[in-house]
Amino acid sequence: MRAEDKIFWVFKSIIWALCLLPLAWLIWLILNQGLTANPAEFMNRYLGEWAIRILWVALAVTPVKILTGWKQALRFRRLIGLFASFYVVLHVTSYVVVDQYFDWTAIWNDIVKRVYITVGMASFLILIALAATSWSSIVKRLGGKVWKRLHQGVYLAGIMAAIHFIMMRKGFQIEPFIYAGILAALLGTRLVPHLKKLKKKAAAA
């Protein structure tokens, strides 16, 4: 094994461990009656918050590459993205099972009438679609260009997740806006190479 690959596997193991830690903590809380007086609400929000945090980390990979030039970072992007989708699936499962207890009428009414749930569900569907098309074989079959276009849908999923988070809070609360600000920075950094190119062009002309 090359030294580079060894480092890759070490990093990968660390990512696995870190991404499973919130779930392990949740299980510990469940076993120790630590879910507050409103366990359903606590679990739902806990899973949703971790889905957003890990999604943001996945969206930070490209900016890290742009700002540091460390190309190897891209090799971890899929894994982190899949963990984000994993927590979104848990979040929605907890909403359906624990919060609504399979009351499909109530769930449908929520999706249709409550904008923050509509937006959240749309974000969830996009992330599921991206997770399902994350296999290397599918990348090959679709062709790099088409696949890349498709997976730029993650920007939309991220923006909708941020809106979902802002909309569910009461009063003016700073926390979801901090998340939205970080997302804006992460997406904005992606414009840096394009701006550099434009500058070069302008200088050449």
């Binding site: 007086a37 624990v98 009438k113 409550r114």
Partner: protein, 330 residues
């Protein structure tokens, strides 16, 4: 050059009891002596607040509002849940924040300003406001606008008794309440979550309704800080945010007073905010609620249950809203 050397035996200025506290103690003693009740001293009169919370209230009268009267599906929510899961944004927006942070609140001494269209306006010490009234136990359902609920055994004085004693005049059409505004005691007020101080209000007939309670305790004990010490409103047929905590001002007004959540999001929170399963919050349904600590399903979680019209107090309050469009007056 004058240099002041301090010695260990010196009395620090901070150790000298402030004049106001001394006066207060004298008043307490005089009052106690006058009633010859030093032995049966009310816990409110003990000046140390940390000791006062969790202290048993004496002579609490049982009423017809008992746990039994509510029915078999309305069991008391455990004390630990009632006192650890709170919305009190003055101490943070997390549900556990008030229980963690409210120790900075000093509910003793406590003054309530009474003003507006009233015969006896003034600055009332907490004890003076409550003294002379029996403390009643009222077991009420409590329905939060966020679709969770509890059953709480409050201890307090019906607001109607206090209003009658203060002598509201015929110009008084509404009662407005204000929570303490003090960034030192309420660190959450550093954030503009809402416009401080927290404000609430009731129509005069709502304030005079026999259900409306000024609570000073729960579970037979002095009310903990996170639940709104030393005195809070309880209107069980309205969403929880109407039941304003840690009240420092009661004003009798002619106009409908501004209320905090209505100022923050007028489309979402109206002045009335009566519990109504048919009128939904724009962002979520109000048809059901989760009773905290209620019976669990096979997954070990409490499922939601239908919310009752006026939170089950239709008989006592529906007549006040006769002919009113409750969808428009949400």
């Amino acid at each position: 050059m004058l240099i002041r050397h301090s010695r260990a035996s010196d009395v620090l200025s901070s150790e000298i009891t402030p004049h106001s506290v001394l006066l207060n103690r004298r008043e307490v003693l005089r009052a106690a002596a006058a009633t010859g009740a030093i032995a049966g001293l009310s816990p409110f009169m003990l000046s140390n607040t940390a000791v006062a919370a969790s202290q048993k209230l004496p002579n609490v009268i049982k009423t017809k509002w008992t746990e039994h009267a509510l029915g078999k599906d309305d069991k008391l929510t455990p004390y630990d849940d009632v006192t650890s899961y709170n919305n009190f944004y003055e101490f943070g927006t997390g549900k556990g924040d008030p229980a963690r942070n409210a120790h900075t609140l000093k509910p003793k001494p406590w003054t309530v300003v009474v003003d507006g269209h009233v015969e006896k306006p003034g600055h009332y010490d907490f004890d003076d406001l409550i003294r002379g009234h029996d403390l009643e136990e009222r077991v009420y359902r409590f329905r939060c606008v966020e679709a969770w609920s509890m059953v709480i055994p409050w201890v307090g004085v019906p607001l109607v008794k206090i209003i009658k004693r203060l002598g509201a005049t015929s110009n008084a059409k509404y009662v407005a309440f204000e929570t303490l505004a003090d960034i030192e005691q309420m660190p959450g007020q550093r954030f503009a979550t809402l416009k401080w101080p927290y404000r609430e209000g009731l129509r005069m007939d709502e304030a005079m309704n026999p259900l409306t309670l000024m609570a000073v305790g729960l579970y037979g004990k002095v009310i903990p800080n996170q639940n709104g010490a030393p005195i809070r409103l309880v209107t069980p047929w309205k969403y929880g945010f109407k039941s304003i905590k840690s009240i420092v001002r009661i004003s009798f007004t002619e106009e409908m007073p501004p209320t905090s959540w209505n100022m923050s999001a007028p489309r979402e929170y109206g002045f009335y905010s009566n519990v109504n399963p048919l009128v939904h919050h724009p962002r979520w349904s109000q048809a059901k609620e989760r009773r905290l600590g209620g019976p669990t399903n096979i997954f070990g979680f409490t499922p939601k249950r239908p919310t009752l019209m006026f939170n089950g107090y239709e008989e006592e309050v529906a007549n006040m809203y006769h002919g009113m469009d409750l969808k428009r007056n949400y």
